[in-house]
Structure formats: structure tokens, C-alpha cells
């Protein structure tokens, strides 16, 4: 003897079958027409994207939809910044969030596996016959949360800038901070950009944002002096007790002085 719920489900489905038989319309040609229109749109969009991708490429310069191909794979590279295909951006950013060694396995395997199990088992824990989304408050809230979090993670993943990408930002800085004509300043800015400061710090919007290191854009306004900066770079905790920043002494005095000068000169965008 089937339970009450099973019996109700079966009755509802029997009603559905009878309704479709009595009131329904034939799939061909009524529904299949809509399907075909939609399929046409899909194919048109695909061909359109391929055409835009190809014909906006100008003499090797990437077009509106990116380059035709990247550089050939180099397993020994030291300056390439790996990024996944766009639909894995959410996972990519999830991995950046789990920035503690103990939690790596949560981001890589734990959470994705858990979500996948929740997704695949959905029909077995959401068993009420109600189908209208507004009368399914839990499902409604869960759906909104999933859409928002996937959207945010994908967006953050797409826009994540790495410290070492900062070298490409130097001309922008030169313009904003007004030192574009000063060759020495540009060289020093490049040194600053390639020394990995921006793995943790932020400078004019570029750099690592999830380690909680102070922003350096207006470091010069603190007027700490070049000597303080050099000493701090050599041994951060001597100037800021308890600082988690590693020593940069290996760069050598000459480079450290340059970076300190650059920091002291950084007084925010000149606008």
C-alpha cells in the first residue's frame, strides 16, 4: 500500500497525463517551431561570435573577443600568469579565498563535491509537490544565493589581478602619478612592480587584495622617510612589531633605496 504522498503524486501525474491528452497541443508543429527558432538563434550567435572573433583581430593584435591563439605552451615559463576558461573562474576564485594551507582541500575538492552531491540529490530532499517558486521559500532563497555567489565569484575571478601583472600597469601609474617623462622614475616603478610587493599590497587598484596588507598608493603621505622604509623592508618586524611581512633584504641596498624612494614619492593619484 503506497503512502498518502505517493498516492497524491501519482494522482497528480495521472491528472497531468489526462490534461495533456485533452487540452494539449501537438508537439509538431506548435512546440517544435519555437524550438527551431531558438536553435536558429543559437547557431546564429555561434557563427556571429566566430566571425567577430576572427575579423576584429587586427594584424596580430587581439580583437574584441581575444586573440586567435596564445603563445605556445612552455612548461618552463617564469612569467606566465595562468587563468582557466571562463566557466571555471568561480572555482579559480574559490581557491584564492582558501588562502590557508590547512584549508586547501576544502576549496579544491570539499566544497565542489558537496555542492555537486546537493545538486544531484535535489529531487530527493525537495519532495513537496509545490512547483511555484514563490511558494518554495527555501528553494527561492537558495537559488538567489547560488546565482549571486556564482556571479560574484566569476566576476572576481575574471578581474583578479596578480602582483606580477603590475609591470604592465607601470605606464598607467606614470600617467596618474605624473612621472611619465622621468625615465629614472619609470625604471624604479618597474623595479617596484616586479619585486612582488603587489602579491600582498595594492597599488592604484592593482595587486593582491585578500591578504589584508596595507595599501601603498598613498604611502608617501605618511612621511616616514627613506631610511625608515629601507630598514622596514630589510626587517619589517623591527619597525612594525608582529608584522607578517617577509624580509626583502635579498634585493640589496641599492634596489631597496630605489623602492623606498618610490614609496616616499607615492602620494596618491595626481588629479
Amino acid at each position: 500500500m503506497a503512502s498518502k504522498k505517493v498516492q497524491e503524486d501519482r494522482d497528480a501525474f495521472k491528472r497531468y497525463k489526462e490534461d495533456v491528452k485533452k487540452e494539449g497541443k501537438p508537439f509538431f508543429p506548435y512546440a517544435i517551431f519555437h524550438d527551431t527558432v531558438m536553435s536558429f538563434v543559437v547557431v546564429a550567435v555561434i557563427i556571429g561570435l566566430a566571425v567577430i572573433w576572427k575579423f576584429t583581430v587586427d594584424d596580430g593584435q587581439p580583437g574584441a573577443l581575444g586573440p586567435l591563439y596564445e603563445k605556445e605552451a612552455d612548461p618552463g615559463t617564469t612569467n606566465f600568469i595562468p587563468r582557466p576558461d571562463w566557466f571555471f573562474y568561480f572555482l579559480f576564485y574559490l581557491l584564492r579565498i582558501f588562502k590557508w594551507p590547512e584549508s586547501v582541500v576544502l576549496g579544491t575538492v570539499g566544497i565542489p563535491t558537496l555542492l555537486l552531491i546537493l545538486l544531484i540529490m535535489l529531487p530527493f530532499y525537495d519532495r513537496r509537490p509545490e512547483r511555484l517558486l514563490l511558494r518554495r521559500p527555501v528553494a527561492f532563497v537558495a537559488a538567489i544565493l547560488v546565482v549571486i555567489s556564482m556571479g560574484v565569484l566569476t566576476w572576481k575571478g575574471a578581474t583578479a589581478k596578480e602582483g606580477s601583472e603590475a609591470v604592465g600597469e607601470v605606464p598607467t601609474w606614470a600617467k596618474e602619478q605624473g612621472f611619465a617623462d622621468n625615465a629614472v622614475a619609470v625604471e624604479v616603478a618597474t623595479l617596484f612592480a616586479e619585486s612582488g610587493c603587489l602579491n600582498c599590497h595594492v597599488y592604484l587598484g592593482a595587486g593582491g587584495q585578500n591578504l589584508g596588507a596595507p595599501e601603498l598608493t598613498e604611502e608617501g603621505l605618511k612621511n616616514r622617510g627613506i631610511e625608515w622604509q629601507v630598514a622596514h623592508l630589510k626587517n619589517p618586524s623591527s619597525k612594525v612589531p608582529g608584522s607578517p611581512m617577509p624580509s626583502f633584504a635579498d634585493l640589496g641596498d641599492e634596489n631597496l633605496t630605489k623602492i623606498a624612494t618610490f614609496l616616499e614619492a607615492s602620494k596618491g593619484p595626481q588629479k
Binding site: P75, G76, T78, P82, V105, N199, C200
Partner: protein, 309 residues
């Protein structure tokens, strides 16, 4: 009653099949030691007697035997009924045998096709095939100025070519306390998820050298950073920030005829001390993201065969 005679004929035989089966098995075992034709013969004997045995077993499990007795005790079922029932039972018995045989044979066919293919698809990954242990010659030690890191890119395996291109950050530490040459050789893959780490400091591209297909670029890093998920390391490869689960992998080395020869690749937990005085435990190469020490190492209890030295 043909069925009855049939049963009678096979009754003594049924006790023989297991014996033949056992002889076949013995033949296989002896054949495996002595010569393979004997093993094949044994296998054939085993299969023949095995089939006969199964056939017999299937027959005896069907309620054929009880039917005549039943008929005798209960008196007088009509002859037609009896014949129909026997025919039915006979069919049932054969159906049981055929079902068993079909499933069994199907299983053998499936195993015969799937197992070798699956083995072929899976096993070569774990036999260590394709791992080359020829040492890589990185050129004269004089190319490695003391106290400076050199970005060294080399081809790990001549046979595989560019796909085995690797990079190591090599620092000549001078002579150790025991007057031995000392090098810090750090592998360029992040131990979070394997991205190519970058030196945090200026590279001197104008001082770059080459030796055969090895490129050597001096660099002055304050540490190393990973461009994927923000891992950061100091110049000994210890983690300073971000998600890396251990210190950067290293290579062993040797010196022959004044040339630096790359040795085994190994993983390390944490490095104590610096440069020539660095102390660390060597672990077999582990995948990035895999803990080699601490409590988390129990998440990865089984060593992977063929994972390389």
C-alpha cells in the same frame, strides 16, 4: 520416459565431473611451473569439466528429480498432465542452465574485452614508464655566481623534447662548512597547485647565458610569488603567505668535471636554516597540494607507484 533414462545415465557421471575439474586445475598449476602447453591443456580440461559440472548442477537444482516421486506418492495424475508437467519442468531446468551459461559467458566476454583495455588505459600511468633518470648537465659552475639566484631552464628528457622543459632557481651557496660545494636548487612549480612561480625581484636579462639548451638568467629575488592563487615564499622556499601546503620542491645535485649536474627531484616539508646550512627532510616527490608532513599527511596515506624519484 526419456528424461528418467537421461537422469539415470548421468547419475554416476555427476560424481566424475568435479574430479575431472580438479585434475584440470592441478594441470594448470603444474603447467604454470613446467611448461605453458600443459597449462593450456589443463585450462581446457578445467573448462570442459566445469561446464559439464555446472550443467549437472543446474539440472539437479531444478525440481526435476522430485517430480516422479511426487507423481508416485499422490497416486494417478493423468498421463497428459504428467507429460505436460515434465515438459514444463524440463524446459525450466534447461532455461536455468542457459541463463547461467549466458550470464557466465557474457561475463567472460565482457571481462576479456574490458579488463585488458582498462588495464591498458590505467596501468601504464603507474609503472613509471616514460620517466627518464638521465642526469641533466647544467654547465660549468662558473655560470652560477656565488650568492645569486640564476633562473635555469633546461630540457628534462632529451627523448620527450620541449614538453619536458623545466625551470629551477639555482643559487650557488659557495662552500659549506665541510668544504663541499653547496647549491640551493628550487623547482619552479608552486606547491599549491603547480603554477609557475615568479621571482620577486629584478632579472638581469642582459647577463643571460646559454649552455647547450640550458638558459641561465641571473635574478635578485627577495622571495618567490605564485601568480595563480597568491602563494608567497622566501628565498629558501618556505611559505610566507597564501595557500601552499609545504615548502617548494628541490633538486639534489652533484658536481662532475666542474659542471653542475642535476640530481633527483624531491619534496620538502619545511626548511630550517639558510643557504649552505639549510636542514630539511627529503620526501619522495609529492603532487602539489599534498601535505608531506604534519597531521594532514594522513589524508594521503598511499604512495603512488611510478610517481618518479
Amino acid at each position: 520416459m526419456s528424461d528418467g533414462t537421461d537422469n539415470h545415465d548421468q547419475a554416476p557421471g555427476s560424481s566424475l565431473w568435479p574430479i575431472g575439474f580438479a585434475i584440470g586445475i592441478a594441470c594448470i598449476l603444474v603447467g604454470l611451473v613446467i611448461s605453458w602447453p600443459a597449462a593450456v591443456l589443463g585450462a581446457a580440461v578445467t573448462i570442459v569439466f566445469g561446464v559439464l559440472w555446472i550443467r549437472d548442477a543446474a539440472r539437479s537444482h531444478a525440481p526435476v528429480d522430485s517430480a516422479p516421486a511426487h507423481a508416485l506418492v499422490d497416486g494417478t495424475p493423468s498421463e497428459a498432465q504428467l507429460a505436460a508437467e515434465e515438459q514444463h519442468l524440463e524446459t525450466y531446468g534447461r532455461a536455468g542452465f542457459l541463463t547461467l551459461a549466458t550470464i557466465g559467458l557474457g561475463g567472460v566476454i565482457g571481462a576479456g574485452v574490458v579488463l585488458p583495455s582498462l588495464g591498458f588505459a590505467v596501468l601504464p600511468s603507474f609503472t613509471g614508464e616514460g620517466i627518464e633518470t638521465n642526469p641533466v648537465d647544467l654547465g660549468p659552475i662558473s655560470n652560477f655566481p656565488e650568492g645569486t639566484f640564476v633562473i635555469t631552464s633546461f630540457t628534462g628528457s632529451k627523448r620527450q623534447g620541449d614538453v619536458s622543459r623545466r625551470t629551477a632557481y639555482i643559487r650557488n651557496n659557495g662552500l659549506s662548512a665541510e668544504k663541499e660545494p653547496s647549491f640551493t636548487i628550487i623547482y619552479s612549480r608552486c606547491v599549491h597547485l603547480g603554477c609557475p612561480i615568479q621571482p620577486n625581484g629584478p632579472a638581469f636579462k642582459d647577463q643571460a647565458k646559454t649552455y647547450k639548451d640550458v638558459t641561465l638568467t641571473p635574478v635578485k629575488p627577495a622571495g618567490f610569488g605564485c601568480p595563480c592563487h597568491g602563494g608567497a615564499y622566501d628565498t629558501e622556499g618556505n611559505r610566507t603567505a597564501g595557500p601552499p601546503v609545504r615548502s617548494l620542491d628541490r633538486y639534489a645535485f652533484s658536481v662532475a668535471d666542474g659542471n653542475l649536474i642535476l640530481g633527483d627531484h624531491f619534496s620538502v616539508g619545511t626548511v630550517a636554516g639558510t643557504a649552505a646550512d639549510a636542514v630539511m627532510t627529503r620526501y619522495p616527490v609529492a603532487y602539489p597540494g599534498v601535505h608531506v608532513d604534519g597531521i594532514e599527511r594522513f589524508l594521503y596515506p598511499l604512495p603512488v607507484p611510478g610517481a618518479g624519484a
